[in-house]
Symmetry: D2
């Protein structure tokens, strides 16, 4: 895999950083992760807009256009494309300077998603580590090195993800996923100020839910509501929608052939593929 | 300056890192900063203990001894010592692995401290960015990439430091300093759970205050108490005690020859030099 | 003085309540206090609307009209009017039932306001007792027996009022007053969700400020901002606007002839007298 | 029933209060409720100590002794005793003055407790109204007129009680009960600072649990833990221990013959009867 750094392409094994790259080493940077579908980078414009928001909050200048970013990504895809690697996860890290000199772009193969997770669902838990709500830390900030995420990841063990609660005891999100509940035929997901990164897949899911005319509530969610739900599913870039089978000791899915999550799953890929906002700039 | 990385010494200009050093690039690491006095590293044992606590919270294994760390630091001091650079600031970053293979140690000259700050005092402000209290994020965690600190630093402008408040409106600390107030002849400093990193200089100052038999209160401090104080001073590793002249529009120091801060200033260096706990292991 | 209770008028000394009036004795009631100007009850319609909101939150039915209330008040004013008592403070307590059978209306002479408070200003302090913000307890609820108010009143001593802070360290209001600050020529007052009862005098003051085209900020106010203000004033029904001379040890008023508070004071009575919304229903 | 007020005994139907009894009417008072077992007042000393704590926080002087209180209660029991009423609930309200002139003591028959609640358990829910934690409002304060309790009672409908959560999303207590959970064979109950009135029955239960050598955790309890419990029970003065059958839609009790709650139930009355601290002063 080749990475882009300071306007050049480098091999993974190549040593390119000195120990004085302070903004990289001390976390003064923001990032985005983009995936491809059929070798085409997905929702680049949306990721670019979010990167701009993040960088503006951190006062890291961003001095390139979405088009420039697009063309670097395309170049990287051509360089890294191969028989065995056809779909990619692309991490864009922006640090101090603000021009394309100041981005690091890593490419890695999109990890294969087992069909099982869509058929059987996954196990999740609730993290004992608190995430500050959006009243304390801006929820629009996508930076690495957030201790609540790193600490939760280390106690995740065999579970697919851990759900974090904020200081008010409300549900935020997983360490890399957003969460949706089905309660009495309504679909519920925490609001941004609860401490939720507005994931691109979350936004696409919200659009899909609206287009299917389900009742949707975007609001603070008490932690006990997780146990009052008839269905729970997660969303994230790499896997789209992931149904939850078990949360702690609670089994949510007995029969999974005919419920709301299944309906959303069956419609999700078609929906995002045909939604033009995801392909702007291609 | 030479840095230690993966058991070897490297020049500053040497490229040593690939773009796949994830734990370094994604903030999965803890750190400490040690200074020297008279070329001797100060309070190494205390910094080592704090690093151990930090790494244990982050579940980053730490598999070397204080003695091993000491000997690497000593080696680095000999390598970097020169006519123009006699005192150093030493940053130790510990990442994934846990052995001395997994530390990065940077040396840089201790920035010269202007005598003026001790005579005239400095200007500070209150940050509009909230720091989560110790009820939300462990106050024993010293990691880089904390957004409240980075964002506050970027709006500091000509001020010496900005003081952060927590989500309860109580005083925490500066972005790199601890804070002490004098109120009605009592010395007051925020408690750890308010969201305070227990600075080594803060701890030394607490010991000095006790030895001088001042009344000391370690407790939650309401933000308005900053304006009820007759004196305010900051502490941090590089400069020791720094008196505050002005906070926002409030002038604290008119005459600075005969007050509590002056008394502490006059006694601080003598105290830490003679306190054996600061020189353990030398 | 005669009071109205269960559809009848009673002397103050008359025993009218059994010990089984649970809703009265156990605090299951809401209330309003109305004053007169020139023997005419002031802003009755506004108080009635607020009583309705309060009673709806407490699920105490309110089954009479503003007109009915108005006519009882008028009757009481006639009964209680005398040479020595011309202006009144009228407390309306609504309990369980919901008809005019279920109101208690007390009349007492409006306490004489010393001219001095307008010329010299008053001393206030900050209460150590926390008031829950509107995120916890509905700010639209006017009930007696709130512990933060009662406890603050008991430590008020010679001060005119104590200002309460909420659990976020933000300014709410006094125990019976609302608060306004002047900061850099802007007028600032806490927003309702900070934990502020929307006083009728506060609302009138907001209208006056707008009509005079001052810049007004209604927003969360950090406690230290009290000390960054050039002027502070309080508002409450009995006295209108009250300038603050001293808060704790801070002297706010040196010369009080030519500032924002003075301008508002000079215009307040004229404004409320001519604003028709205050006299609806007369 | 006869009540004690201002040093005299009054019939229920007797009018004894004027409308100027401000401390009673405006909620400036503290209270306790004592029950009898076998016509003997239970845990009077403990209730007296709690009344003292409450009154000291509210700065309402309390100038009589437990012995004096005891003898008034005994007198009232003799006056009110009859064939049909043998067990009583005694409410003591202390207001401004501080002597026995300033207490109101009401007697009412202890409501009959259906055996069914012990055999079948009761249904409870979670209140949508927030109770401030002990960090905001002192949990040692037993006063009437607390809006969160009154509002929750009004939406209780057919449920036995509603459980209140605090502003951190943690479990406090019911509107008149304390709560205990069984989780993995440990017994868990919220700590006082979560916003729990330290009920006398709660304290007796804690002693019983210790004497039976169960593992007990007194700590903040996340709301979702209610749904992770295998058993839940409530405690309150009138009924002792009450097992919970259903919480919302979750059925907790299928078979109730052989579990922890049953064991505690079978031992509770014997335990409190033989514990001398409950009968001090008799």
């Amino acid at each position: 895999m080749k990475s882009f750094f300071k306007s050049e392409w480098h091999d993974e094994s190549e040593k390119v950083l000195t120990l004085r790259e302070k903004d990289l080493l001390l976390g003064n940077n923001v990032y985005e992760v983009i995936r491809t579908y059929n070798r085409i980078p997905f929702a680049v414009k949306k990721h670019f807009e979010r990167l701009k928001k993040s960088s503006s909050i951190m006062q890291i200048p961003l001095a390139f256009t979405c088009k420039e970013l697009f063309s670097i990504i395309r170049e990287g895809l051509q360089l890294n494309n191969s028989e065995e690697n056809r779909e990619f996860r692309i991490r864009i890290i922006l640090f101090s300077g603000g021009t394309t000199d100041d981005i690091l772009i890593n490419f890695e193969p999109l990890p294969p998603i087992s069909k099982d997770i869509y058929e059987l669902g996954v196990n999740i838990g609730i993290s004992p580590i608190i995430k500050p709500s959006g009243w304390i830390v801006s929820p629009y900030l996508k930076i690495s090195g957030q201790s609540w995420n790193m600490r939760s990841k280390k106690i995740m063990n065999e579970r697919y993800d851990l759900i974090l609660l904020n200081e008010r005891g409300n549900v935020c999100e997983g360490t890399y996923t957003n969460i949706f509940l089905i309660k009495e035929n309504k679909i519920v997901t925490p609001d941004i100020l609860s401490g939720v990164l507005s994931g691109i897949t979350r936004e696409n899911m919200i659009s899909l839910i609206k287009s299917l005319e389900f009742e949707l509530q975007i609001r603070p969610v008490r932690s006990y509501e997780l146990f009052e739900s008839s269905e729970i599913f997660l969303t994230h870039t790499s896997a789209g929608i992931v149904p939850v089978r078990k949360m702690g000791e609670k089994v949510l899915i007995e029969d999974f052939t005919d419920n709301v999550t299944r309906l959303l799953l069956d419609n999700f890929e078609g929906f995002i593929m045909s939604d033009e906002t995801n392909w702007a700039g291609v």
